[in-house]
Amino acid sequence: MLLFWEWAVITFHVRPFVLPRPSQVAIALVRDANVLLPATLATAEEIALGFLLAVAIAVPLAVALSSSRFFERTLFPLVVSAQLVPKVALAPLLTVWLGLGLATKLMVAFLLSFFPILIDMMIGLKSLEIGKLHLAQSMGASRWNMFFKIRLPSALPNLFGGMKVASTLAVVGAIVGEFIGANAGLGNVLLVANSNFDMVLNFAGIAYLTGLGMILFAALDLLERWAIPWHVSHRVRLEPSNEAKS
């Protein structure tokens, strides 16, 4: 695909400010690392903090909403209505309130990644089969045990699903925040490159950003494999097992 790209740009005499050659982008990845790396770290910080804040708030909230019908009926409609406000449209407002620094980007990343985590965690907690619930009651399980030994572990696969989706949204949130106004970060680099028609730097920035997203996703995936190795999604069956079942 890269080769086709390279060939097409040369053959069709595409102007460099429209589409650069991948070879040029590759060079820029290294040559401009002194700009791109610090920018990546700045953006990474916004993403990570916004995402972690989303987890820290969404998970307990999901627990509260799933355990109490009262909470659910009062709080959940509020949360959903809040979700309907396009967060991206709030970004300029947040910049006015929180300034041009880390806080704004963190907030946008948080706002975008919050809802998927909340919803998926709630689904996980509510999807406990009634048979397991009955068994736990018959075994005299306390509410504490019921939650920590049964409900929570069974909700983890859903939580990780929500977190993976949320992580990609956190990246978007941070970048959007930076587009609105920033003096650091990859979004900032992209904006500057764009206004200078420096497409090579633009693409290099996008490459770094994609790499960042991939690292984030991979980190979550590793965490998931550690946390829920028993889940059906982690069972690799390449050949039929030799072990006898009866």
């Binding site: 089969e129 048979g131 397991k132 009955h134 068994l135 736990a136 009651q137 018959s138 075994m139 005299g140 399980a141 306390s142 045990n145 030994k149 049964i150 572990p153 069974s154 829920i228 028993w230 889940h231 059906v232 069972r235 072990e243 079942k245 009866s246």
Partner: protein, 265 residues
């Protein structure tokens, strides 16, 4: 080793629905003696599972009274072991840890419980699979683990809701014998829900036959066959007599249609 008596006294269960009330159980009254193995036998939808859940206190009956060992059941009753059609093992725990869940939730002494768990798991033939996760086991193996879990704390009452219903017929036959073996060694009161006439006759002291909805106890048949009962006993005339008696009751209720004209009588 102890067991308790169970009494159902005019138990009614009515469920409300959009199309009007559904009477699941109508005036169910009977008693189970301590140490007795009683089967609840009836077609799907007759309310037998509902009755079992009501006995366990997991469902509240609309009216009537259920007592276990003289104590009224009005909330989830915990001095029992229960096995459902689905094993409901926790996917993230090994077989041993799943069985031990019973001890953990009850705060039993860990060392003693683990020794007992080991013994039970060995006895049902899962000794080599103690550290396996449920997804590595077949359905029959999982159900055996669920039975061990239900017996870990040596309850005086064992409730089983079609425990072998999801398994193939051969495994089912085998596990029937396994259950009998376990019960003979450590007698307890058992209420066993099934829709298999053969299974009920093979395992039980008495078979309570339930009618289709609204569920009533149509008849209670005492099974006077010596124990231990083997699969070969199913081919004997006395076994066949019980099968016929119960089959005829179901035919009279309309659960089974009349025999084809060419069938020998």
């Amino acid at each position: 080793m102890s067991s308790v008596a169970v009494v159902f006294d005019r138990v009614m269960q009515v469920f409300g629905s959009d199309d009007g009330d559904v009477v699941a159980l109508e005036n169910v009254s009977f008693a189970i003696e301590p140490g007795e193995f009683v089967s609840l036998l009836g077609p799907s939808g007759c309310g037998k599972s509902t009755l079992l859940l009501a006995l366990a206190g997991l469902v509240r009956c609309s009216s009537g009274r259920i007592t276990i060992g003289g104590r009224i059941v009005d909330r989830p009753y915990t001095d029992l072991g229960i096995v459902f059609q689905e094993p409901h093992l926790l996917e993230w725990r090994t077989v041993l840890r799943n069985v031990m869940l019973q001890a953990e939730l009850r705060g039993l002494d860990r060392a003693r419980a683990e020794a007992h768990a080991d013994a039970l798991i060995d006895r049902v033939g899962l000794g080599q699979f103690k550290q396996r996760l449920p997804h590595e086991l077949s359905g029959g193996m999982r159900q055996r683990a669920a039975i061990c879990r239900a017996l870990l704390h040596d309850p005086p009452l064992l409730l089983m809701d079609e425990p072998f219903g999801a398994l193939d017929a051969l495994t089912r036959d085998d596990l029937n014998l396994e259950l009998q073996d376990i019960w003979l060694r450590s007698p307890k009161t058992v209420l066993f829900v099934t829709h298999s006439i053969g299974e009920a006759v093979l395992l039980s002291d008495r078979v309570a036959i339930m009618s289709p909805r609204p569920g009533r106890i149509a008849e209670i048949v005492s099974i006077d066959l010596p124990r231990p009962r083997g699969l070969a006993m199913r081919e004997t005339p006395s076994f066949g007599a019980y099968l016929r008696k119960i089959r005829e009751t179901f035919t009279a209720m309309g659960v089974l249609r009349a025999e084809p004209a060419s069938a020998s009588s």
